[in-house]
């Protein structure tokens, strides 16, 4: 009897010791890497932004100057709006992530709009489009997404914010019209939202999110 208890205690003790050792190892590694990982995530996000808006156009802390909006036109979920400024003057805003309906699942976009209402650019953050057809929206697959740069609600005129097949100016891909059509529509909606809410977007005081969401 006693011997059995001893065995159980012995096993439990060993398990406990290894639990503690394992937890120690993990927490040590975490302390050593946490800062670097957070920095990595910020940089990965900023690298994406700086592809659209040049780094030297901005002098504020983009990641601190952020508000959260909710608009069914842009996304079912919350959208973060990062405000880029130079000497306090508005330069651009970055909407992320904006959701566009896709062929299979929603496409998540980053849309950067300059203060004058023109597009600094659009990037696809994630998508599940058909390989070989709809996935040409991805920057690594084709240049299509770069075509938004410089466009605004006047250029082309609002009636032409469609893919060519529907009488607009934007290219579609052969065999996949739905994906580009939806993205064009979503980007247009984002521009319209910006036009309507411009004032508020830049004036509303920045939030201090506990943990900035990166994508």
């Amino acid at each position: 009897m006693i011997r059995q208890y001893k065995d159980i205690l012995h096993s439990a003790a060993i398990l406990g010791i290894f639990g503690i050792l394992g937890a120690t190892l993990v927490s040590l590694t975490w302390t050593a890497t946490a800062e670097r990982i957070a920095l990595n995530q910020q940089q990965a996000f900023l690298r994406n932004v700086y592809k659209l808006i040049k780094h030297d156009e901005i002098d504020n802390e983009l990641l601190q100057d952020v508000i959260t909006i909710r608009s069914p036109a842009l996304s079912k979920n919350e959208v973060q709006v990062y405000r880029a400024r130079r000497q306090g003057e508005p330069v651009a805003v970055v909407f992320s992530p904006v959701q566009s309906p896709g062929y299979a699942a929603p496409i998540r976009l980053m849309v950067a709009v300059r203060a004058d209402g023109s597009l600094a650019g659009v990037r696809v953050l994630s998508h599940l489009e058909t390989p070989g057809l709809g996935d040409k929206i991805d920057e690594s697959r084709s240049d299509w997404i770069l075509g938004f740069e410089g466009k605004s609600l006047e250029n082309p005129p609002i009636a032409k914010w469609k893919v060519k097949k529907d009488g607009g100016v934007f290219d579609q891909f052969t065999g996949a019209t739905i994906t580009p059509r939806n993205i064009v529509a979503t980007v247009k909606k984002t521009l319209e939202y910006f036009e309507k809410e411009k004032e508020r977007l830049f004036k509303q005081p920045a939030e201090s999110p506990d943990e900035p969401p990166f994508h």
Binding site: Y103, P131, G132, L133, T174, G175, T177, I178, R181
Partner: protein
């Protein structure tokens, strides 16, 4: 000591296989003529390429496997696979894609699994899926049917396009190709158009798309011939069509403006061809009568699901492959009870 293992159907002699396959080929003729009439010479060229490749591949693999070549070539099964694949392909597909598909069907799907009678998956459909997934652009480039085609290509021009990739001087791909009706329907519905709105377009006929809606009927003639000759049984075609019609009917009744009608589904894509010629493949389908009904019905339901909510516009190939996978299980649970066996499973 090795015992020969046979899968069902039992009692088939090689010359029976030949007779069976010859009848299948004969039954395909009306449908093929209709395809050529509506979509031009490309269909015939594809069939030619596919059959030649299939025979060469079959001979090559049999040689590697040190099996007798002549009888296997004579049984025409490779030819049937090739023809079924070829008529599912767009008429102007580049020749090497057809070749690649047929090689895949014969070498990987048929012979790597043991050859005729042992392959768990329908070779023609597996090859179709390979091509569709790998070359989605070329595989969705169909031609408009004859009455809508502004720029029909003659035989020589079709040859040049297929083998050289060269379009006649004044034409572009966008000018001569068009989406399939299923594709078009899906695209229009995604734009939130209602069915009554989009049926104004001249491409739509009485119940499907013009031209396309008639092809099914021609394949149906062949299918009925196979039924009459007892090459296939009624279970799979009937239950497969029922599965699709019932699913489509339910959703159509709920929302006729955004769900295409059962008739549209019946006469679009490869449904009739699939129901009579592809799903009935004796090697890969379920073999018990009750099993066949379940097998066919579920194919119909899956086709509807994929056509409506899936990532690709037509789904006969995907549905057939999925149910190929389920066929052994279905057979296991639907085996007719042996006479004298007890209910509790002990005998």
């Amino acid at each position: 000591m090795e015992f020969p293992v046979h899968t069902s159907p039992y009692g088939q002699l090689p010359n029976n296989v030949t007779r069976l396959m010859a009848q299948v080929l004969l039954a395909l003729v009306p449908g093929i003529i209709a395809l050529v009439y509506y979509f031009g010479w490309g269909v015939l060229i594809n069939i030619g390429i596919a059959v030649a490749t299939a025979l060469a591949a079959e001979a090559g693999v049999l040689h590697l496997r040190k099996r007798p070549i002549a009888p296997a070539l004579m049984d025409l099964s490779a030819v049937v696979t090739a023809v079924l694949l070829a008529i599912a392909l767009p008429p102007l597909l580049p020749w090497w894609m057809t070749v690649l598909g047929v090689l895949f069907a014969i070498v990987m799907v048929k012979h790597l699994y043991g050859g005729l009678g042992y392959n768990p998956f329908n070779p023609a459909m597996a090859a179709y899926v390979l091509l569709l997934v790998s070359f989605p652009l070329s595989m969705t480039r169909w031609l408009p049917p004859e009455m809508l085609n502004q720029n029909p290509l003659d035989f020589l021009q079709s040859l040049v396009v297929i083998f050289g990739g060269q379009l006649p001087d004044n034409l572009t791909w966008d000018a001569i190709t068009s989406a399939t009706p299923l594709d078009e329907m899906r695209t229009q519905l995604e734009m939130h158009k209602t069915i009554s709105e989009l049926s104004q377009n001249p491409i739509w006929g009485d119940f499907g798309a013009r031209g396309w809606e008639w092809i099914g009927n021609w394949f149906l003639i062949g299918g009925l011939f196979l039924l009459w000759r007892k090459v296939i049984s009624w279970h799979i075609p009937v239950s497969m069509i029922a599965g699709l019609l019932i699913s489509a009917g339910i959703f159509w009744a709920i929302d006729p403006e955004s769900m295409p009608s059962p008739a549209f589904h019946l006469f679009s894509g490869g449904l009739i061809l699939g129901a009579f010629f592809i799903a009935t493949d004796p090697v890969t389908a379920s073999t018990t009568p009750r099993g066949r009904i379940i097998y066919g019905f579920l194919i119909g339901v899956i086709i509807y699901i994929i056509r409506t909510w899936g990532g690709y516009p037509d789904a006969v190939a995907f549905a057939v492959l999925l149910m190929n996978m389920a066929a052994p299980t279905i057979d296991y649970y639907t085996r007719p009870r042996v006479f004298g066996a007890r209910d509790d499973g002990h005998d």
